[in-house]
């Protein structure tokens, strides 16, 4: 039956593995947010090449499963002579995939903003960077926070895929435990607890920001 001791013993190594989950998803998210803003702006810009680039970016990164993308970066790039360290491949892939999803979330929020506000900024000669940074994005972020937190939580969990390039993160560690103890249920539940703890923090940050940005 359910083995409490397997469940509790699991936490040590899982917590240790969690540092990679945090590293990959944390860095991936941070870079993804910045890249996402850039892609979003390109996608809505007047320049056609920029729009096409953004469309392809989103299409490829959302379309091809992240696992396959990791395999491409890690196993296919070496074939053409580019060798990427595992951790760079993991963070980089997480970030670009995140950017594709995040840019779409922001595009929706921006659509919903009354356009007069951007006009008011443009009319006093504000530079586009400032218009985005000061007028559009803060509101888009506030408006889209729940959807954004959704995405970040998904990313934390999706970081488990980076184990294919040999990074021992939480899910992988729990699989190792399942393989030794033959008690996958216990091992996976322990892993779920750690994910839950991380994600509850994210959700709490989201709630806090939502509260603060509410007007």
């Amino acid at each position: 039956m359910f083995s409490i001791s397997t469940f509790t013993d699991g936490f040590g190594p899982l917590l240790w593995a969690a540092r990679y989950t945090l590293l990959v998803s944390g860095l991936g998210i941070a870079l993804g947010l910045v890249l996402g803003a850039v892609i979003c702006i390109m996608g809505m810009s007047k320049s056609r090449p920029a729009r096409v680039f953004a469309a392809l970016w989103v299409s490829y990164l959302r379309g091809v499963p992240m696992l396959v993308q990791l395999l491409v970066v890690f196993f296919l790039l070496p074939v053409i002579g580019i060798d990427v360290p595992a951790i760079v491949a993991a963070v980089g892939t997480t970030a670009v995939v995140a950017s594709a999803y995040i840019s779409e979330i922001w595009r929706g929020a921006i659509n919903a903003l009354p356009k007069g506000q951007a006009e008011a900024a443009v009319a006093i000669g504000m530079a586009p960077g400032d218009v985005w940074r000061r007028v559009i994005l803060p509101q888009a972020v506030a408006l889209s926070l729940p959807a954004l937190i959704n995405e970040l939580i998904l990313l934390v969990k999706a970081s488990s895929l980076v184990s294919v390039v040999g990074i021992m993160e939480i899910t992988r560690a729990s699989q190792a435990q399942a393989g030794t103890t033959f008690r996958p249920l216990e091992a996976y539940l322990a892993a779920a607890c750690i994910y839950l703890a991380i994600n509850l923090c994210l959700a709490a940050i989201g709630r806090y920001l939502e509260h603060r940005m509410a007007i």
């Binding site: 490829y60 396959v68 929020a109 659509n111 408006l143 959807a147 959704n150 249920l185 839950l196």
Partner: protein, 220 residues
């Protein structure tokens, strides 16, 4: 690259496609419906009920689908819940998707300027009508890309159904690659199929988006 394996394997791959698409459609539809229901309850239900829903959202959203499915399918029988693989998979997808959809709808509702809802209330419009006629159509403008986003993510989550032996595409390609060692080809199949599938979904999303945003005028 060796395409000859497809001569042998195409029937199971096609069945895999079919199963993936089937699971995705039902999982997304049910998940979205449940998510909408949750978001509406969060808006209208009394506080204790809202807290319960919040707990549900955080727990389901915070844990991996793999674990949920594992617990549901392999742990369920321990407490007498015995489901077949496909129903378990669909139930799992529905539950897993619902909190994400709920949060997206919640953010959609927040984006609707209060004045527009007040205008409807002031003429005595019933709340369900307000939801249908004002809240959803106006809110969807901001939420649609996020909804499409998450639906796309769900396409990828269907591959996890392979752990409970639902014969979807991942299950079939894995079978192909472990039998033939054609990993490159198997990944290529996965990549191309998902890319195509996701492209179809996002095109439909874009088209729908154009329809519901046609009243917006272009920004400067």
């Amino acid at each position: 690259m060796d395409l000859s394996i497809f001569v042998t394997y195409w029937p199971i791959l096609v069945r895999g496609f079919g199963m993936t698409v089937f699971c995705w459609i039902l999982g997304t539809a049910f998940g979205m419906a449940l998510g909408l229901a949750i978001a509406l309850c969060q808006r209208y239900a009394p506080a204790p009920f809202r807290w319960l829903l919040q707990i549900y959202i955080e727990i389901i959203r915070g844990t991996p689908f793999l674990v949920q499915l594992f617990v549901l399918y392999y742990g369920g029988p321990l407490i007498g819940l015995r489901l077949d693989a496909l129903p378990a998979g669909l139930l799992g997808l529905t539950i897993y998707g619902s909190p994400y959809f709920a949060e997206i709808f919640r953010s959609a509702f927040r984006a609707v300027p209060n004045g527009q809802i007040e205008a409807a209330r002031a003429i005595g419009m019933a709340e369900p009508t307000i939801i249908r006629r004002i809240l959803l159509p106006v809110g969807l403008v901001s939420a649609l890309p996020a909804l499409v986003n998450f639906s796309i993510i769900l396409t990828k989550e269907t591959v996890i159904l392979s752990i409970i032996t639902v014969p979807e595409l991942m299950y079939q390609t894995q079978r192909m690659s472990t039998e033939t060692f054609r990993y490159l080809e198997a990944n290529l199949v996965l990549a191309l199929f998902f890319w195509f599938f996701v492209e179809v979904i996002s095109r439909i999303g874009r088209r729908f988006e154009r329809r519901i945003t046609h009243y917006l005028i272009e920004r400067p």
